[in-house]
Amino acid sequence: MQVKEFKIKWGMVIDIDKCSGCGACMVSCQVENNIAPMTQEDPHNHLQMMTTKRDDPSNKLRTLTWLNVYELNNGKAFPEHDVAYLPRPCMQCGHPACVPVCPVVATDKNEEGGIVSQIYPRCIGCRYCMAACPYHARYFNWWDPLWPDGMDKTLSPNASVRPRGVVEKCNFCHTRYMKAKDRAREEGIDPMELPEGYYVPACVEACPTGAIVFGDLNNPEHKVAQLAKSPHSFRLLEKLGLDPQVYYMSKREWVREQGDNHAAGDHNSAVKQASQGHE
């Protein structure tokens, strides 16, 4: 399979050593993208007595977290014990596993910038894409979104609200990209050459330690282009050869090793096989 090439390739480099696991990125993501809080009671359902209750936020299999922070540890006892936190957005893969399996072309990677699109009204909820994605970056709406009274005022016009029965995922806050292009046009800047920082997703803006850097991986003037080439940077499950546009960095070797969760010893051969398969 050929990697689709674009002039612009929006990418992220997440410095795991800088991440304190505070979760500000997750919160900002939920607010920016109109992800409803989970509530068990539905005030609009007058047959509540006879119907099943909705899932509450403690059911982590059914909560929607476009960006999820995972906790890693090195598995050693106290003096050597070490933890790390790994925020996981959609990887916007170069050749995504989710796209070819979609029977209705609700998800595609065809726009300049390389962001994998998800069109909710087109999605039929078969969840093949969720099964295909090795990063668990896709989420299914088991319930219609419900905002408690008054909280609906926090809804943002930047994201379309998804109904029950469709799949959704991180899209690098795509409306921010569209707005950045409009601002560039107004200011007489070529929208194909947005300066660094013109367009950043909500998580990048919210991160208090500056652990997430965002920009065009193809533009050598952008910081991400250099950071992605650092000897400390890696991508998740690189051996699968999906060519993610999200990079991670860590100076700790055990973190880098867990990023490519492989059986001991087969790492090099697996990478070799994957890269051969895609040439």
Binding site: E111, V161, M178, E186
Partner: protein, 250 residues
């Protein structure tokens, strides 16, 4: 044999054609009228009174903001730059004196003029314009409510339309497109002054003194004038622009 006789009695080309005709006429002529209901705008707005009467420019109300987004309908604050009612509470009090209660101040609209406090604010000269302006002041400005205009081109929630991206498109370009463009002809008048608003919006709205009803599709709630996805895609293809999902969707 029974069945064959029955089919001879009722069958044949004529009943079929008649039935076809009835259904075709119903579907072609009657159904579109049932599908759309007319909804009147909150009050009659005259572009003529503002453009010709006051010499205002389109950009005075419909302009690009600094961030490249487009200000479509002007807000009360912008209207109040001319339609200055001073302290809204004073006006409400003055109207309440006439109607008896601040809850039914809109009753003053039943009469064509008065009270003094309201007449004093009217800037229009034509009788129809005066009534519209009275409605605007009493219903919205005095009560601090934004006007809930119907947007003839309202797009679904998952569409991002950029006015800025289309601002430099000229009608000459569109008219010259391979395969033609249905709306181009109607929009030719615009070619002279350089804007291309006619392509999607009500034709020559700046020359109209009324606001036509909003035709709402009873099944979808969308406007009859809302551009369909195939129309967007056709023009993008003709202009050699990308039709990737995320070019228009969010």
């Amino acid at each position: 044999m029974e069945e064959m006789r029955a089919s001879k009695q009722y069958g044949g080309a004529l009943p079929f054609l008649l039935g076809f005709l009835v259904v075709a006429v119903a579907g072609w002529v009657l159904f579109p009228d049932i599908l759309f209901v007319d909804k009147e705008q909150p009050f009659r707005f005259s572009h003529v009174a503002h453009v010709e009467g006051q010499g205002m420019l389109c950009e005075d109300c419909h302009y690009f903001r600094e961030d490249g987004s487009f200000a479509g309908f002007p807000t009360n604050e912008e209207c109040a730059m001319c339609h200055d009612i001073g302290d809204p509470q004073e006006l409400v009090d003055a109207l309440a004196e006439v109607t008896g209660s601040p809850d039914n101040i809109e009753d003053v609209l039943k009469q064509e003029e008065g009270p003094e406090a309201l007449d004093y604010l009217i800037l229009s000269a034509e009788p129809e314009d005066i009534q519209a302006e009275r409605a605007f002041i009493v219903k919205y400005l005095a009560q601090g409510k934004e006007v809930p205009w119907y947007n003839y081109q309202f797009q679904p929630d998952n569409v991002f339309f950029s006015h800025k991206a289309h601002a430099d498109l000229t009608m000459a370009q569109v008219a010259a497109l391979e395969g033609g463009h249905g709306e181009a002809e109607a929009a030719e008048a615009d070619a002279e002054d350089g804007t291309n608003c006619n392509l999607c919006h009500l034709e020559d709205i700046h020359l109209r003194s009324d606001t036509p009803p909003f035709q709402e599709n009873v099944m979808t709630g969308y406007s009859k004038m809302t551009m369909k996805m195939w129309q967007c895609e056709r023009c993008h293809a003709q202009m050699h622009q990308s039709n990737a999902c995320y070019v228009c969707h969010k």
